[in-house]
Symmetry: C2
Subunit: 213 residues, 2 copies
């Protein structure tokens, strides 16, 4: 058996948000699927037993999912994936907001709130069967695990090294907004590096009318 | 609740191969994840109860998975996804081979053989818990469900319409092989349309030494 064949199963990437002993907890997951859509949407999450997030989900029976996008800061993945919630307040390091009482990322392709209805222990993982109790659509193209391996992993490792050395999470990239029409710049070239004759693609006003938020 | 948020869960695309009453059966699935890797790799398949493939898996307790790639003929998806095995011998329409006694596609990124150890019924789907009992790596970049929606779906619909009208499955695209070094052409431009001065990228011999297989 060539177990590399298992690497060809394709996944998205998600940040789980939950609580343990009243404090926010979370981690990065990939094994997450929709299981049925009616009468209510249900999903399955497969989570490592050794993780604090696993204990947290069992304690409260609820969690959120933030769907990562191709614009997700690689540090977000490092923050939730490269350290344990036993040592770090992960949610304090990233731009976060709330879905009810649980944490979610500020920028995501979508957010789901899931309520555990049943679970099954495997050797190393727990399979959680859940009803989706809330769902919101965000912005951005979803990131796949394959793309993470190809383009994000090295950047996540670098970002985490810098974080360990400085003890400071990177500041989220500023948003540049057109003060005339409200267009939010979302190109891949940093806004500062755009040519001086660049114009707002919506209202045509010059670069100088953009403000940093 | 905005149920479009569920569309942001990312999947691969797979053809299931199984048997019912001694005959080959199968369908296309997306909800398939690895659940643990030790002591043996285990996977979870979520399959629609109404499908013949679901009954087939319950009958034999085994199935194969062929992982679709960016070179998969859209007809393959139409063949396994747009018709029921109750009306058609799906495996007769596509280039197939065997993994033990079960059918698999000839071209795939990987193949897995899975043995059901437990299952759970949801409202519309069955969740199958499986041990992976055999695994082989193939070739090609894996296709995601998002890419299928974007680039394959229309082509699959067209291919299926042609199949319904002619009653004939499309012949698989020929392979062009360099008779000098054995290189198999795998570019996106059809081989016939390459310029006459095109050369084998491995041994540098001209286009004319290539043979159709």
């Amino acid at each position: 058996m060539d177990s590399k064949a298992l690497y060809q199963i394709s996944y998205g990437l998600y940040v789980v948000g939950t609580k343990i002993d009243g404090k926010d907890a979370g981690c990065v997951v990939d094994a997450f699927i929709q299981s049925t859509s009616s009468p209510v949407p249900t999903v399955i999450l497969c989570s490592i037993q050794a993780n604090q997030t696993n204990t947290a989900i069992k304690q409260t029976g609820e969690f959120t999912i933030s769907v990562l996008t191709k614009k997700t800061d690689p540090f977000v993945i490092a923050n939730f994936g490269f350290q344990s919630g036993r040592d770090a307040d992960k949610w304090a390091n990233v731009p976060a907001k709330r879905m009810g009482d649980l944490p979610i990322l500020e920028n995501a392709a979508a957010w789901l709130r899931c309520k555990v209805t049943d679970f099954k222990e495997l050797t190393t993982h727990t399979v959680f069967f859940c009803d989706v109790t809330d769902a919101m659509v965000g912005e951005g193209e979803v990131l796949t695990y394959g793309e993470y391996q190809k383009n994000w992993k090295g950047r996540a490792q670098e970002a985490f090294k810098a974080f360990r050395e400085s003890g400071k999470a990177p500041a989220p990239a500023p948003r540049w907004v057109c003060s005339i029409c409200g267009y939010v710049y979302d190109g891949t070239i940093p806004f500062e590096e755009l040519p001086e004759d660049w114009k707002c693609p919506i209202c045509g006003h010059p670069k100088s009318v953009f403000v940093k938020e």
